[in-house]
């Protein structure tokens, strides 16, 4: 645009600015409209997809997990309510509800053995054993989703990370940092000794014994005085591999 001197020039420049502004706003509006439209298209395509692949979603955990991710991206939560389009379409609400009930069951049944803290892997394995022939495989991702729904019940169900593992807590017992560190240490061999805790974590004897006794009282640890070296060992069922625990067969 040619620049013109004087008031005229200024008015032109202002008008030009206004026009640019309007253009900009239009572009913005168009972009938003486009996005809205795209989103809406995406949503309905997602619904079509869900309808078409209902069975796959039900049966295949990897597929199911990816489907959840897709939904999350568009702001759809198939589990948000047990009624409504998604739940009815997929019956997925029921699936997770049922899973939740079974998880609660298993946690209650194993509580006397592990104090209310169970390895996620072990939980899933027990879940699979219990469901056996039931409509498809259950993944750890499924367990986590079901548990997150359980949290809504305020039942004290929570997934905590200890080292590389995930543990599912089904009792109100709060684990503080000291307890967590001991659990992480115990992951190595399934047990710790007071010496080891003092040495590896650089704690005083008092602090180590305090923490271990609490874990013992909560039923999360068991003592073992039978080793020939005479040192007391504190074992943690929740970090031990499945094969060392009982009750599996009867679940």
């Amino acid at each position: 645009m040619r620049r013109r001197p004087g008031i005229g020039g200024l008015q032109t420049a202002a008008a030009a600015r206004d026009q640019y502004k309007k253009l900009g706003e239009n572009v913005a509006k168009t972009r938003t409209d486009m996005m809205r439209e795209q989103l809406s298209t995406f949503r309905s395509q997602l619904e079509d997809f869900a309808r078409k692949h209902k069975n796959d979603i039900r049966k295949n955990p990897a597929f199911r997990s990816q489907f959840h991710e897709m939904c999350a991206k568009v702001g759809v939560d198939p589990l948000a309510s047990n009624k409504g389009f998604w739940a009815e379409l997929l019956g997925i609400g029921d699936f997770y509800y049922e899973l939740g009930v079974q998880i609660v069951d298993i946690c209650l049944a194993t509580r006397p053995l592990n104090g209310g803290l169970i390895n996620l892997q072990e939980l899933c394995q027990l879940l699979r054993q219990r469901r056996k022939s039931d409509r498809g495989v259950v993944s750890e991702d499924d367990c986590l989703r079901a548990i997150s729904k359980l949290k809504v019940l305020g039942s004290g169900f929570e997934v905590i990370s200890v080292g590389k593992k995930k543990l599912v807590r089904s009792v109100p017992t709060e684990l503080n940092k000291d307890h967590n560190e001991i659990l992480e240490l115990a992951q190595g061999q399934g047990f710790v000794t007071v010496d080891e805790v003092e040495r590896r974590l650089s704690w005083t004897s008092g602090r180590a014994i305090d923490a271990l006794d609490t874990l013992l009282d909560e039923g999360l640890a068991m003592i073992d005085d039978g080793h020939k070296d005479g040192k007391r060992r504190y074992w943690f069922p929740c970090v031990s591999p499945i094969s060392s625990l009982t009750g599996i067969d009867s679940l």
Partner: protein, 179 residues
């Protein structure tokens, strides 16, 4: 799964802490329950009737994990069985324990069934035959502990289901059924 002879051991048997009597009540209760079941199952399968605490009892030691139940633990588990009526101390010192993997009443029922199965409703049979005879082979009666058998017989005698009579020696002791 680890085995003791042909007997399949439960998973907890390989978890060392179960061989130490647990101090925390809830944990100890669970531990005792597991051991009680194991002891009863083992004795039933192996047809053992008496456990002597000071003697070597294969169930009380795990050679793989190198753990052994202390005397205190052994007594605790057996006492729990006694409390439940599934065992009896044979001496005041609690050194020998009679294991009732079948209760006395159950043994009485088994005896009656044995009588019916062998057409002995009005018949006579010796103690020896019941314990070691051909008819009892393959049944749970075969090899039954003398003390337990006597108790079962006494129970049935009180109910009028049989009469025990002595022979010329203990081996001749017999029973006349009146089922």
């Amino acid at each position: 799964m680890q085995k003791l002879g042909e007997f399949k051991l439960p998973h907890f048997f390989n978890y060392p802490p179960y061989f130490t009597l647990q101090p925390v009540r809830d944990t100890r209760e669970k531990q005792i329950q597991l051991w009680k079941e194991l002891i009863l199952d083992y004795c039933k399968i192996q047809k053992l009737f008496v456990i002597a605490l000071e003697e070597e009892f294969p169930l009380f030691t795990n050679t793989v994990t190198e753990r052994s139940l202390t005397n205190e633990a052994r007594e605790a588990f057996l006492s729990a069985l006694v409390s439940e009526g599934r065992a009896e101390w044979m001496d005041k010192g609690h050194r020998k324990c009679l294991i009732l993997w079948h209760r006395i009443q159950d043994w009485a029922d088994i005896l009656l069934q044995f009588a019916k199965d062998n057409g002995l409703e009005d018949g006579v049979v010796t103690i020896e035959e019941i314990r070691f005879g051909t008819e009892s082979q393959g049944t749970e009666l075969h090899g039954i502990d003398r003390t337990i058998l006597n108790r079962a017989l006494k129970l049935l005698e009180q109910k009028g289901k049989l009469v025990v009579f002595k022979g010329t020696s203990t081996d001749d002791e017999g029973i006349k059924f009146s089922v």
